[in-house]
Subunit: 149 residues, 2 copies
DNA sequence: TTAACAGATAAACTTGGCTTTAGGTCAAGA
DNA sequence: TCTTGACCTAAAGCCAAGTTTATCTGTTAA
């Protein structure tokens, strides 16, 4: 069992944030001893899941809904399974978007390397948009491709 | 040349957002004809870069700073190059984090598949935290590993 | 000529996720 | 005893990134 201050240090999360999560109902099983919160390993694992679901794009209120499903027992397995499936798809899609973003950034690094070497952007502008070096063209084209959702 | 409404449709961005970006100084070269904004291909490419920098985690004010650097000419090539280099690193790191998030989500999908098949979580809890099926253990361990920054 | 649009502005509002503030309880050490 | 520090609550505040609202202008179509 840990106090809120210990959890804050261990997990590197402000005390105010932990209290906020608690107020929002993200630790439905947390015990209290004369008013003082007692975090157990269960709550530490919950913090892991909160972090995961947050990064996957879920809002606090939806994380709360998940916690409530957990409290409902085995009847909510299907909903919970579906939630994770959906968030998995969302994160896969976001990683794809970020790969495209990355290719734009890589292109821009090449762009400025070249501009610095040349002292201007004239040569690059002559190559744009279709006569870039093969590898760079790939980055550029990927970065400028549309997503068909 | 395009009106704000045309750009909004083409790029699927609300008119209000385009005006907001303009107000924040993200289109320093945009022309106006008797008060009406005229978006050119330059502004469309700028929208691409705004999108890229936003996704990489940059705030509007920093994107504005970049636009100002562009207006300063070749003397700011090094700063611009450094900006893209930094954002590239930031996105690479974020993709790594998301890969870990993804492994947690995959683990949870397996978890609930198993719980649904068993009707309860007893068997899973016996396997936790170190006796999961090999492939699943990998997901679990990766998802629960600490980042040493 | 009048109504409907598309464009414009300034300023207020919204949202989510915290953080800060103000005020209070309780236990331990000087 | 008194003060320090960790805990508590409720409520207000903050911030970024838009969005909405109220009001105005100019063009076209019936």
């Amino acid at each position: 069992m840990y106090t809120i201050g210990q959890v804050s240090q261990m997990c590197n999360i402000p005390v105010s944030t932990l209290r906020y999560y608690d107020k929002e109902g993200l630790f439905p099983h947390m015990e209290r001893v004369s008013g003082i919160r007692k975090f157990s390993d269960r709550e530490l694992e919950t913090l892991h899941i909160i972090d995961c679901l947050k990064k996957s794009g879920l809002e606090i209120r939806d994380i709360k809904k998940y916690m409530q499903w957990c409290a409902e027992g085995s009847s909510s397995y299907p909903q919970r399974r579906e939630l994770f499936e959906n968030q998995k798809k969302a994160v896969e899609k976001e990683i794809e978007h970020l790969q495209k973003t990355l290719d734009m950034l890589r292109f821009k690094c090449w762009y400025y390397d070249t501009a610095i070497a040349d002292g201007n952007e004239d040569r690059i502008n002559e190559m744009l948009p279709n006569n870039l070096p093969v590898d760079i063209q790939k980055l550029y084209d990927h970065a400028h491709s549309d997503d068909e959702d």
